[in-house]
């Protein structure tokens, strides 16, 4: 069947199919209302005076410079560590690979601000390790500011780099490396000229991803940054000070590099890449592995990283279950009862409910969007596609800022309702699902759907009986991803919290900031428990259909 082209024609066909029309219109309304409209409001709120103010006061310039410096440093180390870690798992003969994969997975269970909390408990000037260093070596650890931030961001974002790089390493064909070996390349030369060259686009991609995440990170800079002020923290200050204009200016500045990275990823990297970034293992000959000596070094490296991560989780658990760890090590459930299992302190429960709702809505919406964009002809498709993907490039801090600035005044007021939190989470996660599902839709042959249509099914029936079952795996995977991200998000929702809907990540941050460390730790443990529990239930239901605990 040859499709007729042209706006008029597609509009006519759409009007004949009311259920599709409803889907298209709803999608447009939602995206325009929550993506395009807030963007416009933020740009108009920023105003010339505020731009002038931003560039005239030294405080802001310094924050910008600090942000650039710290994000670049953290991204660099996170990428290097992620690369070595992934290389050890995929190219060496070391023992305990499964364990190392598991270790790189666990930081995803906790909000990145938990790394900041654990860091304070270990390396803060009153922390465990700094205390020990002081009493044994008389060395005074002072890691507040850039050094601490650098370490914490490296640790909390290295799993992201590791995963991105893993995808690339797995897609490198061993055949090429063997060919190079036959031509005389050995050891480091082989690594430098072939493996690293082929992995480079992925490595750059990982670097950029980590960099924009650090750029907009809010919790860790606020906890550990000390005097080292950063843009995301300054935005928070201006929102508190009731200066939405200044906050908007800084928000826009935060977005620019993120958009640049987004553009680079889409245009430059895809053209210059030597291998695809699908993450599918490449079949072929057996991969050449590293020498015994290198193995030992890699094993030591991965062990050190693992110890670091394990100790961060261990100290958090110790604080959660003792009266006041370090001073009074009596076991107690008091903290858990007070801040996790109390009707007056529903933060963990709130997180769970809001994350579930938002993840379900995000996947459902992504599904609808992917369906109409791939399958239905209608005018304005480019715009819809663009505004559906756009939020992926917007830092969480900016999304929260835009929503609070837009919906606390003006014609639509949503401030103070849980809806705004759900929407913010949805906007951040929906694009990921949308991209994945668009790809899946394209793989499902259109002729199957056409057959159903010919047999008399309307588009709703086709959708529910043919398309969705075929997409189940992608749907569940995206739901799990969105859920985990939602549970742990802080910067996206920090502006949107209401007293009724305090969420766990915010509680951890608040308690950590006011020094109530045992409560912060208790909430963190409760949050991880809730995430694990939910994932366990999903795993029980879908069994082998979904990969959650397979590393």
């Amino acid at each position: 069947m040859k499709e007729k082209k042209g706006t008029g024609e597609s509009l006519k066909r759409l009007l004949k199919d009311p259920s599709s029309l409803v889907l298209v219109l709803t999608s447009f309304i939602v995206l325009i209302l929550f993506v395009i409209y807030p963007l416009i409001v933020v740009v108009f709120t920023s105003g010339f005076d505020n731009w002038g103010m931003f560039f005239s006061k030294a405080r802001y310039g310094k924050a910008l410079l600090n942000t650039v410096v710290s994000s670049s440093l953290s991204a660099l180390t996170a990428t290097v560590i992620g690369f070595i870690y992934a290389y050890a798992i995929h190219y060496s003969n070391i023992a305990g690979k499964k364990f190392f994969r598991f270790i790189a997975f666990i930081p995803l269970l906790a909000p990145s601000v938990m790394s900041g909390l654990a860091f304070l408990l270990l390396f803060g000037r009153g922390g465990m390790i700094s205390h020990w260093m002081n009493s044994v070596f008389h060395v005074e650890l002072d890691l507040y500011g850039l050094p601490g931030l650098w370490i914490v961001q490296t640790i909390s974002y290295f799993p992201l780099a590791y995963m991105t790089i893993t995808g690339v390493l797995r897609s490198i064909s061993p055949n090429l490396e063997i060919a190079a070996q036959n031509l005389g390349a050995r050891g480091f030369r082989l690594f430098r000229t072939i493996t690293f060259r082929l992995a480079l686009p992925g490595v750059i991609n990982a670097f950029l991803l980590v960099a924009i995440n650090c750029f907009a990170d809010f919790g860790n800079p606020k906890l550990i940054g000390g005097n080292y002020s950063l843009l995301a923290v300054e935005i928070y200050g201006e929102i508190i000070n009731n200066e939405p204009g200044l906050a908007s200016v800084m928000g826009i500045i935060l977005v620019i590099p993120a958009l640049l990275v987004f553009w680079v990823q889409n245009k430059v990297l895809s053209k210059g890449s030597y291998s695809t970034v699908t993450g599918k293992p490449v079949s072929g000959l057996k991969r050449i592995t590293t020498s015994r000596k290198t193995d030992i070094l890699l094993f030591i490296f991965n062990t050190i990283i693992s110890i670091f991560i394990i100790s961060m989780f261990a100290i958090t658990i110790l604080f959660a279950f003792t009266k006041n760890f370090g001073r009074d090590n009596t076991f107690t459930l008091e903290h858990m009862m007070k801040v996790v299992f109390s009707s007056s302190s529903p933060a963990v429960l709130n997180s769970l409910v809001l994350s579930l709702v938002s993840a379900i809505l995000a996947v459902a919406f992504a599904l609808v969007l992917a369906y109409i964009v791939v399958r239905k002809p209608f005018p304005g498709k480019k715009l819809l596609d663009f505004s559906a993907v756009l939020p992926i490039a917007l830092p969480g801090t900016f999304v929260g800022l835009a929503l609070i600035v837009t919906f606390s005044k003006g014609p639509i007021i949503l401030q103070g309702s849980a809806a705004l939190i759900v929407i913010a989470m949805l906007l951040k996660q929906m694009p990921v699902g949308y991209r994945g599902l668009t790809a899946s839709f394209k793989q499902v042959d259109k002729s199957i759907e056409e057959a159903a249509t010919n047999l008399g099914a309307n588009s709703r029936k086709t959708l529910t009986t043919i398309v969705f079952p075929m997409l189940q795996k992608t749907v569940v995977a995206n739901f799990v991803y969105a859920f985990m991200k939602n549970m742990n998000t802080l910067s996206t929702i920090i502006f949107l919290i209401t007293p009724k809907w305090v969420v766990a990540a915010v509680s951890i941050f608040n308690y950590a900031e006011t020094g109530t460390y045992y409560w912060a730790a208790a909430v963190a443990v409760g949050l991880m428990g809730a995430t694990l529990g939910t994932l366990g239930i999903i795993k029980l239901i879908f069994r082998s259909k979904v990969k959650i605990f397979d590393f």
């Binding site: 000070n241 459902a364 239901i541």
Partner: protein
């Protein structure tokens, strides 16, 4: 949104369970279940959450009114209540310096209520029209970690005045919260501006900056960190210092000349979801029990003469604090001073 039907029984069951649970939870939150005996009050607390929860748990025991609480630094609480004036989220604002409440009163965000229990509170510690009522009194103090002091400065005398803190030997050894967001630090600088004049205060702060290790958002943090040995000196309210000292930390407190003080206030948000319960809470707060709970754990001085000075607390009448501190003037100047302070750094 399209219905997501699947040919898979377990998914449908899961979906139903989730919908029921989530729906139930939302209904529970909005108070549909339980009716009157499940009454709830929403509190913005500028107190440390631990203390606020202690009091609110007692209140819950006595009245059966449950609570939602969000702890905020005072600056944040003020802008939150102001921003929410069209659609108030909270019923009650607990703690925070009186000038914050004064800002909200001027903005028309508060409900006037003169509790019968407020009659024995001195007139300069409550709003005449009843928009806010004082709860405790607390001067700014310089808190020194005695152990770290000994390591760093040996037997040098402790700083006695604000200007002593300018000594270059204290570089990176002082913590003071950011006057632009913290009520604590703002009280300190507003009092200095009243005693010294605005220019000298700004000049002083500019000179002080190099010595500051950090300027956290929340007022209590500097002394917590000083106590942990992260730095030597924390400028905070005296009550916070005494509290930490009584936990067994080596803290020595000095109330310097020209030290401002906060009157911790209580107020009722106008048009909040449960104003009736808020008035009950106000009456309850001004009985002796909350006063004792708070002064004992926060080591502040109650505004009520009937509440005793807690064990380990000190009588501030014996110190040289700025007794003429004009908190109404401080509230008026807040925006200007904070704007000028932001220009530093």
């Amino acid at each position: 949104m399209a219905a997501r039907k699947k040919n898979n029984g377990s998914i449908i069951i899961l979906a139903v369970v989730i919908v029921v649970l989530v729906g139930g939870f939302f209904l529970y939150k909005s108070g549909v279940f339980g009716g009157k005996d499940k009454e709830k009050i929403t509190v913005y607390s500028i107190f440390q959450e631990e203390e606020a929860r202690k009091i609110l748990d007692k209140f819950k025991e006595e009245t059966g009114i449950d609570y939602d609480i969000l702890r905020l630094p005072s600056g944040e609480a003020v802008s939150r209540v102001q921003n929410e004036m069209l659609n108030p989220q909270a019923d009650f604002l607990m703690g925070g310096p009186a000038d914050s409440h004064e800002v909200l009163k001027k903005a028309g965000a508060l409900e006037a209520y003169s509790s019968p229990n407020a009659s024995d509170i001195p007139d300069n510690m409550k709003d005449k029209e009843g928009f806010w009522t004082g709860f405790y009194l607390n001067p700014i103090a310089i808190g020194v970690n005695e152990e770290r002091w000994k390591e760093k400065y040996g037997s040098d005398p402790y700083p006695e005045t604000f200007k002593d803190l300018l000594d270059p030997k204290f570089k990176g050894e002082i913590g003071m919260s950011d006057p632009a967001t913290s009520g604590t630090a703002y009280t300190a600088v507003a009092s200095l501006a009243q005693v010294w004049g605005e220019d000298e205060m700004l000049n002083y702060m500019k000179q002080l900056l190099p010595n500051l290790k950090e300027r956290p958002k929340s007022g209590i943090e500097p002394i917590q960190k000083a106590a942990k040995g992260e730095y030597t000196i924390g400028v905070t309210f005296l009550g916070d210092q005494l509290k930490i000292k009584n936990q067994g930390n080596p803290i020595h407190s000095i109330v310097p000349e020209a030290a401002g003080y906060e009157i911790g206030g209580l107020s009722i948000v106008k048009g909040g979801p449960n104003t009736k319960a808020a008035k009950k809470l106000m009456d309850y707060m001004l009985t002796n029990t909350p006063g004792e709970i708070y002064t004992q754990s926060a080591y502040a001085v109650s505004v009520k003469p009937s509440v005793p000075i807690p064990q380990g607390g000190i009588d501030i009448k014996s110190t040289k604090y700025n007794s003429a501190y004009d908190l109404w003037k401080a509230a008026d100047q807040r925006k200007d001073l904070q704007g000028a302070l932001k220009g530093l750094r």
